[in-house]
Amino acid sequence: MQIREYILRRLMILPLIVVGTSIIVFSLSRVGGNPIAIYLEHEMTPAEVAEIEERYGLNEPLPVQYLAWAGGVLTGDMGWSAVSAQPVTEALFSRIGATLEMAIFAAIVAITLGIGLGTFGGARRDRLPDHLTRIFSISGASMPIFWFAILLLILFWVNLGWFSTGRSSPEIFASIAHPTGLYTVDALLAGNLGAFLNAIRFLTLPAITLGFGATAIIARMMRSSLVEELNEDYVDAARAKGLPERLVLRRHARRNALIPTVTVIGLGFGFLLQGTVVVEIIFRWPGIGRWMADAVLRGDQATIMAYVLFTSILFLSVNLIVDVMYAYLDRRVVLGG
């Protein structure tokens, strides 16, 4: 009941924030000078320039231009992506699978490892495992992703030769169809174990790199909330019932410690999203992160706008889901604004 109201209210605020975000994104594109620059070629006559201005509505007042752009976005028309020489929407959808696949694997790494490490440290408070967990999580929050990626490449690619950059081996890529764009899923659909393992092999390093920061965030939160829960009376009450320490930890303390940990998963997801740009550059991963990086270097505003809007909507949605999950998990929570 209450939860449903809460979700409804959050859902109603969401579009407002998205509109705000889109205004920021739009303003950004106008701050950087007249977007007409990208359409111009040498030796155009003033008349030709005016004609282009006319065509793209660039001589209208800004609010009108914004509405025109926003209308376009709503109907799936986000302009022309110069870096990929195709419409932005098409370019986005052809690249999203690669990024999504990497992010999903990184999230799996981060959530399992983060919760595991946090439990490991928190249950052994102020002893060696706890100190190691703490060092790990602070390192994770301080680690420049680009450097970490390069270190991994130096070790596992240049020196050991176990992994390499890119997304799959060419001959294996050619051997199966790719209906979903997620190579692991495609391989499973094709029933091709070799292709699946190949996809996993290429995913390993990028997913670990990308997941490191989020792992650290989750581990840290898990650790501190577990420490807090272990001080609660109900933990002693569980012990007083004769439960072995294993059950006291798993069934009682950890279950409650997971509730606040859920809240940082949204934050961790933000880490993952922004990490993809760098990770995709270094591992030559053909996703939207590298697309953005290319656009940034070439000043391709349509692409930049689309990317920023897309990721922030994704980010907002994940945070909404996380909040709802939290409200659902924590039966004690009094939902408020």
Binding site: T21, I138, P144, F146, W147, I150, V158, V277, V296, T311
Partner: protein, 308 residues
């Protein structure tokens, strides 16, 4: 019923004002902070990094005309570490890695101090307005904050820096636009919390003006969480800036760690690991040191929010 739970004498209630409490606390706080070995480690690293930043002109021969540009020695390219005159080796364009590492500390120090000063000032002003005046203004400002928070930090900064074009000044600007938001939130939250505290009411009764109450009571009490956040941001800003310049948003040839890592990246497949490794490590150390200290500060000043 007879309840003997109460001890016979309760300790006297301190009668000093907030300032007295705070000055007394400062000594305690620093003692407690220094008791944590990881915090001390962070402080030591910070001192070393600052020493490097200040002594860079003495440790190396500044490049002319602009010491913040990498000197080029086209004769010795891709020299490995240990080469005479190039202790940490050179890049593929003949830049001395050691020079970049040392002057990078100077660049980073300037960058972080500028951005932290700007963002704290803006954040404190906006947060104070929202928290202290409240009402519609608060509503509007906080919605704006929400919108800013809806875009992941690095991506927002990346987009701003991108539309402004590649230059280090633009990176500074972009980071300033992105990083003030947290301070506004902290300050506003603190003010609203403190406004409900009794001694502000007491001050009101004695007839102090609103602004005086603000200066005397509200602001000093809001400072600790801002300090913690600023310490953490000193690290986070350098980290984000290095990422932006790694992607290619600083001008080429700048003596900055992210630029150097980016320059060195192409060489790693040929086994030239040094040009990326050393500058990257500096970024890591910088962020690590400030995170360790910020974390230690938070544990002492505000133990309840630990890890959040």
């Amino acid at each position: 019923m007879v309840d003997i739970s109460t001890a016979p004498q309760s300790p006297p209630i301190p009668t000093d004002g907030p300032w007295a409490v705070r000055t007394r606390r400062f000594g305690e706080v620093s003692k407690q902070v220094l008791r944590n070995p990881t915090t001390v480690a962070g402080l030591v690293i910070i001192v070393l990094l600052l020493a490097v930043a200040f002594l860079a002109p003495l440790l190396t021969t500044p490049n002319v005309p602009d010491p913040y540009q990498m000197p080029r020695d086209w004769g010795t390219r891709d020299a490995p570490p240990g080469t005479p005159g190039h202790l940490l080796g050179t890049t593929s364009t003949g830049g001395d890695v050691l020079y970049g590492v040392l002057w990078g500390a100077r660049t980073s120090l300037q960058l972080s101090v500028i951005v932290v000063s700007i963002t704290v000032t803006v954040g404190v002003i906006v947060g104070s307005l929202a928290g202290f005046i409240g009402g519609r203004l608060d509503e509007i400002l906080m919605r704006i904050v929400d919108v800013f928070l809806s875009i992941p930090e690095l991506i927002f900064a990346l987009a701003i820096a991108a539309v402004l074009g590649p230059s280090f000044t633009n990176i500074i600007f972009a980071l300033s636009v992105v990083f003030w938001v947290k301070y506004a939130r902290i300050i506003r939250g603190q003010i609203i919390h403190i406004k409900q505290n009794d001694y502000v009411d007491a001050a009101r009764v004695t007839g102090d003006s609103k602004f005086r109450i603000y200066l005397k009571d509200v602001l000093p009490n809001s400072i600790t969480p801002v300090m913690v956040q600023a310490t953490l941001d000193m690290g986070g800003i350098v980290l984000t800036a290095a990422t932006l310049s790694f992607i290619g948003l600083a001008q080429a040839g700048l003596a900055e760690w992210g630029v150097l890592v980016s320059d060195g990246q192409a060489g790693i497949s040929a086994g030239k690991w040094w040009a990326s490794t050393f500058p990257g490590m500096m970024v890591f150390l910088w962020a690590l040191a400030f995170n360790l200290v910020g974390d230690g500060l938070r544990d002492v000043l505000d133990p309840r929010t630990e890890g959040r």
